[in-house]
Symmetry: C2
Subunit: 454 residues, 2 copies
């Protein structure tokens, strides 16, 4: 079986749909459950409400849980709300506890309480433990469904325990080892466990070089760590090293995707990325705050140019190069910004030192500035036949590029210094700052050397 | 053991360094090899050449291979080149075959040939098979170190085979099943294998719902698939369904990181993201191509304004709002661009249809345009006391925002239609296109209604 694309799923669904509508429950179940849960979810998401209600009656709460675990939180919320509440509670209980918690976190408190009292007590307890961890921390993405063994067990006993726990556990490929105080003291991979002899003690075969994270640690740092160390799972502990849960690599891939998307949105000046299925009002509401801020920054730029109205009145041709100079400043600033934000994220800048980075950006600005300045001087000389105008624009571009490149790197570094996420210094923000810098340089030079231009 | 940070690693190294310099080989090896390979690599990278040469003599080729597998390709290249060639060949042979191939791909052909003839034949053969796959395809990131079993084996036989292969295999958590023609026909997770009874046949316990990828498939699509389906490994096959290799989740995390970084760089107009340790000349060389292209696009904008010189001569105050209007066009265009590029990447746009997206962007532009246009009209009226100027700028902003928002979405959609990566429509490119649109609208309107402004 290959990965199904949209078309293949639609064709498959046409086959299955008949069974569903003709109440051929067994046929429907056989065909539907044959698919990977991800494909089940993709098909399920496209169904109208009536069909979804039919599917709720044809599948068990466990089967529905498998499907909706693959769906985006916001949409699952809608499904959970439309289901019969008792059935919804069962579905939540059957889901991976970390996924169930993510959904309950979006509901209001009364609703959560009513679900928790309806569902089976074991599941409710597990969910309650996880509910109070802060968003984007280890606690909020970990699961409590892991396998734990004790130092004094033998390999054979551990394997027996593992076989029993395997169906429920999120992963069985790393097995964590605790001592009699339930402190995390070691880890053994299933790979090493199956190679070991049955009568060996776990304490002799486990690795005590265990890497763990604190329950309050930031999810982005955990993602970085998991990628660096190539782990499939990481144990989460409290301050006394008690094992609280594990984080698996599939959750981390979602985190990485989310974080990359966030950085990208911020660079584009979209505070909270629109979804392609938002309507225009929702999109406009997400984009307007930035646009209004930038509008006022733009007015500030306008008022600066306004101060040079006398210069403009005398040499109107100056105006035609404003977008060029401001645009170049914005472009080079965004480049420097992106490099600095990534450098901070990867820790590369911490290592090199901020001064070295700023000096390097200044030198880069000097080289790019001299190159672009030279090109533009020559072009304007041949185009307008005015060497002084050419030199004015050329020198302005050069100076602007140096200043804008430094600004692009400096702003995120300063933000980082004051513990503000440097990625909020988005592209449009830097661009507008650099508009102001470029206009000041350009009109400042033009006013100073006006007599050469007349 | 917690994740080591920079400071902890430095402290640890101070302890170990003494052993190294005093030629206490055993002490050095004990301390150094106790660390996770990632931390070993971080420390190793910071050493000067003399220290690295000492370390080459103290560790085996296998131990060095473990260290440098954690280092960026470009830097590994330097290490491989500085080592004694015979030792380098051994190190390459000991590395994961996919990592060794990545490095050899960067070397010139003669050098590769000489390494391959020096190294042990088995390793050389494996590397040769992988060397000819194209970059960024499944073939280029897969490994051939996987465990394969046959349909007619029993669970017990399979487990015995697995125990033998485990130390060499990249993962043993999915075991792939082939028939007698070596066609991939099934998969069984280690989880299911250890639960199964020893005398059952593999063909009865394996899953035949196997998802595989073609060897030429794009790595970005594979990453998406692996995330959607939550796989830890994926089998790679040729057109006849012969199993060629496997791709593991750790390689995919690197791909995801790389792709996110690429998209981010392109939005910022940095074709090939600088590294924080590049010098200024290298950085400038990477950024200049974009800047020169944008410089000429900017000249085009200037020539358009030049056509309105007569208008400007009469109403010089028009010039002061050029950066404001052009800037707003650039900002809103970048927002629409980012949303469209992500929407294409996630497949959301394919699902909704391009027309619907464009209509939505047009409506979004209308709402943001009317809001910003209204605000600016009022502000300019109170600031400059000229309602016609206010209305001119307001209407220009409104029209510009609508056009720029549509352009921001349209450009990547058209590129996608013609199979160009939409992410190359970077922020600076859209910004410059929108400069031109905005200037045309603004001066067009100003010229048409000039008599009101005088």
């Amino acid at each position: 079986m290959e990965h199904l694309d949209q078309l293949e799923r639609e064709q498959l669904w046409e086959k299955i749909q008949g069974a569903l509508l003709n109440e051929q429950i067994d046929e429907f179940r056989a065909e539907f459950l044959e698919m990977h849960p991800y494909d089940q979810a993709k098909i399920f998401e496209e169904q109208p409400e009536e069909t979804r209600f039919l599917i709720y009656t044809y599948l068990s709460s466990e089967e529905i849980a498998d499907v909706i675990e693959q769906v985006d939180e916001e949409i699952v919320l809608q499904y959970i709300t439309e289901m019969n509440p008792a059935f919804a509670a069962q579905v939540l209980a059957e889901m991976s506890v970390d996924d169930a918690v993510d959904i309950l976190n979006e509901l209001d408190k009364n609703k959560v309480a009513s679900f928790l009292t309806t569902m089976e007590q074991d599941a409710a307890e597990e969910i309650k433990t996880l509910l109070h961890y802060e968003e984007k921390t280890a606690g909020s993405i970990m699961t409590t469904e892991f396998v734990v063994i004790h130092t004094e067990q033998t390999v054979k006993e551990a394997m027996r325990h593992l076989r029993k726990e395997a169906p429920e556990a999120e992963t069985i490929y790393y097995i964590y080892v605790v001592d009699k105080f339930e402190h995390l003291v070691g880890v053994i991979s299933l790979r090493d466990l199956i190679i070991a002899e049955g009568d060996w003690l776990i304490s002799d075969v486990m690795s005590d070089r265990i890497v763990s994270v604190q329950v309050g640690e930031n999810q982005e740092d955990i993602a970085q760590m998991m990628r660096d160390y190539d782990f499939l799972a990481l144990p989460v502990v409290d301050f006394q090293d008690h094992l609280l849960g594990i984080i698996t690599v599939d959750d981390i891939m979602d985190v990485m995707d989310q974080e990359a998307s966030d950085d990208y949105s911020k660079l584009a000046g979209v505070s909270d990325m629109d979804r392609a299925d938002d309507n225009a009002f929702v999109s406009a509401k997400k984009r307007l705050p930035w646009l209004i801020i930038l509008l006022f920054l733009g007015l500030f730029t306008a008022s600066i140019i306004g101060r040079f109205e006398a210069t403009l009145d005398k040499v109107a041709i100056l105006a035609i190069f404003i977008p060029l100079i401001a645009g170049m400043a914005g472009n080079t600033g965004t480049q420097a910004l992106a490099v600095a934000v990534r450098g901070i994220a990867t820790g590369e800048i911490e290592k090199q030192g901020k001064w070295k980075i700023l000096m390097r950006e200044a030198a880069t600005g000097l080289i790019t500035g001299m190159s672009c300045g030279f090109v533009i001087t020559v072009v304007i000389y041949f185009w307008q036949g005015d060497i002084f105008l050419g030199m004015l624009v050329g020198i302005s571009i050069m100076t602007t590029l140096i200043a804008a490149t430094i600004a692009g790197a400096l702003v995120p570094l300063v933000m980082h210094r004051f513990n503000v996420d440097p990625a909020v210094a988005s592209g449009p923000f830097i661009t507008t700052i650099n508009d102001i810098i470029s206009v000041l340089i350009y009109f400042g030079l033009a006013t100073a050397f006006m007599n050469l231009l007349l």
